[in-house]
Chain length 184, copies 2
DNA sequence: GTCAGATCTGACCGATCGGACAGTTATTGT
DNA sequence: ACAATAACTGTCCGATCGGTCAGATCTGAC
């Protein structure tokens, strides 16, 4: 990150993100990335220390977004917390659609990845916020469903304009939680 | 499948399913499966033609379940179709929790896998059923959310008893669709 | 012009992958 | 008892993986 931005370097990142989202991390080889980028495999390892370093740099912004959401969430509770959790998570999922795809394709590796170290705690916080502070089955199930629904729908590419998608996802999530979208 | 059932053969299948669900298909080697099963790597390839053949046999029951759901769905429409789609899909996801995990971890490969050839058509049918026959943005988004919510929640292992989980998932899905759980 | 450092390449390395094969052990029908 | 077949193992194979390295090439300062 201390490195000055290079054209090839960012080109590599874009290619890698696309390939990781298409075929998964393990399903994408350095050879594939180099070929799509149009450079040699060694060039990748000149700009990045390892294949994992590419993944780390790709996931870091999303991880920071999650941390920011956590910060915005602390202090809130009840209906306000749930609403902020829903809108915040939807916006985040839409801003990092490809990253979410990558995440979902290698869950076991990602849950322990350093770039996403804060994720489990944030998810936990999101779940309790979505469940309105409850930890009993009825609410926790709905909270899990919201996280799953938003993640998968954001990762999928249905042909809906992003603004419509955002509004409908928020409305759907609030309905899932049993809260009226407009009047709390 | 024409082969007579063998104790080791089914042991292999169980081990492979667990490992695939934990680490993904590409993240699991034949060596890993052999080690967990307690046999040699060559024994795996005696009972199965290839690594992919193991995956195929693991996913076939789930694929058949989806085909059966499709059969049960044809002819229905409107609210009845949506309700049947929800309960049918929830039951299916809960019956094949580990298989759903495997599916989600290698989406690009699975979408073209022969054992799941009927899946895209079934998903399409499920989506239209869930959307109440509509193909416009408001309903299609909610339909996608339901599929995502059910799949992810079933794959995750929250500590909720399966009966409670089933009931809450159905209720949540119907709420997501904007339908009252009890009174249509 | 030329020198230094950044950038990039082709060739190569050890490890691991899925899979093949010959041969050995267990099982079974007669 | 014994042949025949099923079940299984150890070993080897080519391909591919992530990663290394010495050297070629490009670039700007002086």
């Amino acid at each position: 990150m201390a490195r000055p931005p290079s054209a090839l370097r960012e080109h590599i990142l874009r290619s890698a993100l696309r390939l990781f989202a298409e075929s998964g991390y393990k399903g994408t080889s350095l050879h594939d990335i180099a070929q799509v980028t149009g450079c040699s495999k060694a060039a990748l390892l000149y700009h990045f220390a390892s294949k994992d370093a590419i993944l780390t740099e790709l996931l870091t912004p999303a991880g920071e977004g999650l941390a920011a959401l956590r910060a915005r969430l602390t202090g809130l509770d009840g209906a306000a917390a749930a609403r902020e959790a829903v809108t915040g998570f939807v916006d985040l999922a839409l801003r990092f659609r490809l990253e979410v795809r990558v995440l979902f394709q290698d869950i076991p590796m990602m849950t322990t990845h350093p770039a996403l170290g804060a994720v489990p705690a944030v998810v936990e916080l999101l779940l309790t916020a979505l469940a309105g502070g409850s930890t009993a089955p009825p609410d926790t199930v709905a909270a899990h469903m919201v996280l799953g629904a938003v993640s998968v729908t954001a990762a999928d590419d249905l042909g809906v304009p992003e603004e419509v998608l955002r509004a409908e996802m928020i409305r759907g999530a609030l309905r899932t939680l049993g809260r009226a979208p407009d009047h709390p």
